[in-house]
Symmetry: C2
Subunit: 306 residues, 2 copies
């Protein structure tokens, strides 16, 4: 039975576009509940500027207060050197760096060219100096909402560059839900052949959004290609400013439910996870896209109507 | 480029669980608009008792008033002999018969045992006597919300029985969204080997619901197995009384958008179809699950933020 490793990103990628501040106590309680569900990793928060993302202004406090469960890695998003210093201070188990593989979007999100981003990230790698593992997220890897197509070869080249800088893992991110299954299959095959084959220790993660309904189909294409690490966001929180009203990240519990049904071992206690997912509408104050928390598992039976 | 054939079921399977009656004029205009989009088939309505499904009480009038576009087949759901007579009268291009492959659910939906249903359906085949093609829908083929697992071999046996009765096509229906991709792959392989191989003219259709988010992943598994016919419901209308609040049928436009992106030829004018899909919330009076109508196509670009 193939083991699949899930990284829960709801409290970072999910929360950061929510308009209403989620209280620090709620965040800590939520992460503590998620820690009991069997995740391989939880992306707790982002050490970004409180001005840029007010929702995550309590990053240091949250990292200090969560209960660390052995076997779960607590990772944090780090946009720059200052963020890396805060993450090291907070004793994060991993630093997750990010760069958009699109000049326009990298400028829009980080106000830097890709070359400037790379120089700044090299500086972070030097600062960390192997003390803590680094994951590198290549964002917009399946398409850019401003430029359109992102050449697959460009993802491969950047993946190699960051692997050679010392990244322990790479996340290939469909940040705006533009990837489709055939593209995922081709991308995964190229990554396996050109990047992972010669670096068997490298952890390859896929990060999908369900913006256009293709999220779980892309997960399927990913596992078919041999990928065993996925990001998910509880209840399908998250989203993209270019697609208002559309679905957000893939729902962790929907993806895990599908893979468990197919016979994969996700390590997750799905009933417990669904219990946490069902708290989410109350936490964010609105309906959420995740389906299994509403419909129940495929193994849940119903009485015959009278 | 593989040709994929879509059957649009929004005005039958989609509408029948809507609480507010959609006026006959609106139905006719909607079907006429769908006729211009490139569908292989449209399931217009159901010749069921007006008491059972008041929404479709105007079935005869709708069938009489729609404009028949050459190349599009206009099919109707037929629950019994009386329905078949009305469908023949209305000059439907195809009769779509249905039976649940679960004793409990067949009793719940049709108030008959499967044996009684089969006898009644044999009678319909006799009545029609080859004048109009018959499609046979095997419902709950991927699981029953009352009984749970439905043995794959049972689907295969019923499929053979109806093919041998003279059905032109079979629809394997995941009526309550319980199927997962590995199950779809196994089911399709068995159907191809045990039913279609010796009956190459038989049209095999897959009918999925997105109740637990797996709809498009199941479509992917289906096309990977060589299936070229799918049902879809515009805007993802539809649903299941056992999963209130969950998603309905797979959204036609989301499935078509995915398959077109992957390089399949669906014959559909997607921009035109998205225009029709965007009218749906106004027609049914509530938000709908379809994503692409909200998020736009993956090829839609956006200006860079200032």
């Amino acid at each position: 039975m193939t083991r699949i490793y899930f990284n829960e990103v709801a409290t970072r990628d999910g929360f950061q576009i929510e308009p209403e501040f989620v209280p620090t106590d709620t965040k800590v309680a939520l992460i503590d509940a998620l820690s009991e569900c069997g995740y391989a990793k939880i992306e707790v928060t982002s050490f970004t500027s409180p001005r840029a993302i007010p929702m995550l202004r309590d990053a240091d406090e949250v990292m200090g207060r969560i209960r660390r469960v052995p076997g779960v890695e607590y990772t944090v998003l780090v946009p720059n050197r200052r963020g890396a210093e805060r993450a090291l201070e907070a004793k994060a188990d991993e630093l997750n760096l990010v760069m958009s593989i699109s000049e326009s979007l990298n400028r829009a999100n980080l106000r830097m060219s890709m070359a400037e981003s790379f120089a700044a990230l090299q500086d972070v790698f030097k600062l960390v100096d192997g003390r803590t593992p680094i994951n590198m997220s290549l964002s917009c890897a399946f398409g850019c909402p401003i430029e359109g197509d992102v050449p697959q070869q460009s993802i491969i080249e950047w993946a190699k560059r960051f692997a050679d800088l010392g990244a322990r893992g790479l996340s290939i991110c469909d940040t705006t839900g533009m990837g489709h299954p055939a593209q995922v299959s081709r991308m995964v095959e190229a990554l396996q052949n050109e990047v992972v084959k010669t670096r068997p220790e490298l952890q390859l993660t896929l990060h999908f959004h369900n913006t256009r309904g293709m999220g779980l189909a892309n997960v399927l294409a990913g596992v078919q290609g041999g990928v065993v690490r996925f990001d998910g966001s509880l209840a399908g929180l998250g989203g993209c400013t270019y697609a208002p009203g559309a679905s957000g990240n893939i729902s962790s519990e929907d993806a895990i439910h599908m893979l468990e049904a197919m016979g994969y071992d996700t390590g997750i206690d799905l009933d417990r996870l669904l219990g946490v997912a069902r708290q989410m509408p109350g936490i964010v104050g609105h309906d959420v896209p995740g389906q299994v928390a509403k419909a129940g598992r495929i193994t849940d039976l119903h009485p015959a109507p009278v």
